[in-house]
Symmetry: C2
Subunit: 173 residues, 2 copies
Amino acid sequence: MENKVYETIVGRRSIRAFQPRQVEQEALDAVLRAGLYAPCGRGSQLVTLVAVQDPAVRARLTAMNAAVMGTDGDPYYGAPTIVVALASPERPTWVEDGSCALAVMMEAAHALGLGSCWIHREREMFDSDEGKALLQAWGVPAGMRGVGALALGYPAGEAPKAPERRPGRIFKV
Amino acid sequence: MENKVYETIVGRRSIRAFQPRQVEQEALDAVLRAGLYAPCGRGSQLVTLVAVQDPAVRARLTAMNAAVMGTDGDPYYGAPTIVVALASPERPTWVEDGSCALAVMMEAAHALGLGSCWIHREREMFDSDEGKALLQAWGVPAGMRGVGALALGYPAGEAPKAPERRPGRIFKV
């Protein structure tokens, strides 16, 4: 099936090596906009996105994430931008909604020549007192919880190849 | 920003009215394939997809979903195909993984001229004895739980317009 849009969507791979150059505002805005248009339960539009480019804040998130992980590396793979997705547990589908926003942003980033990787542990990070204080300082409405985050930037090195798909995952009835 | 792939991704809307004609196998296979290539935690590839086109099975899922909902309508909006996403709770990110598969399949379906809508309540449906018996009859590995499903088909009527985006959902730091 020759369909460039379809092939681009399927061809996205998670990127774990990034160029140092920062994501421009126009490209970042486009990625975030895609997240706002992701599907969400009952059209609630409660997923909230925090784009972090400030090096000091980025370093703080790195330290917080690594602490949850029990390491001292950079769980965000050196990406110059981190996009955190938060959602409000007042909606029973808050995890699903946040996940959809992250998945659609990953596809949009790929379409724009950017690379991304879903990084986890933001639930623990923003459930902590330190995380809640950060959200408050940023002006994020109270009660939001972390769903996940993207490491975002321009890919470095060769494009990763997809491992073979595990068989037995599709059933038709 | 002129980018057809990006605009298609952002332009997807949830479709709630479908033509009666069935989704062809080639198009269905392409949608399912996109789900297999969606991002997932630690490359686990444990999300499993069940595509339902058999009218009797479809009617049964409709009745089960409506019962969870407490109605007697068709929660799948008359779509000729239902794609159920299941995942294994052995992975802590099973809901996130299933959600990513559903979101990427929605984008792929849109790229292929199909329409879809995320339908919920498959967790309750396939946690029930009736649902577990169906999964077993279909040959789905034991222990899988429902994450969600897509109503899938060719859109009928005018393309829905996106409601305005709720403000205050993006923060930059």
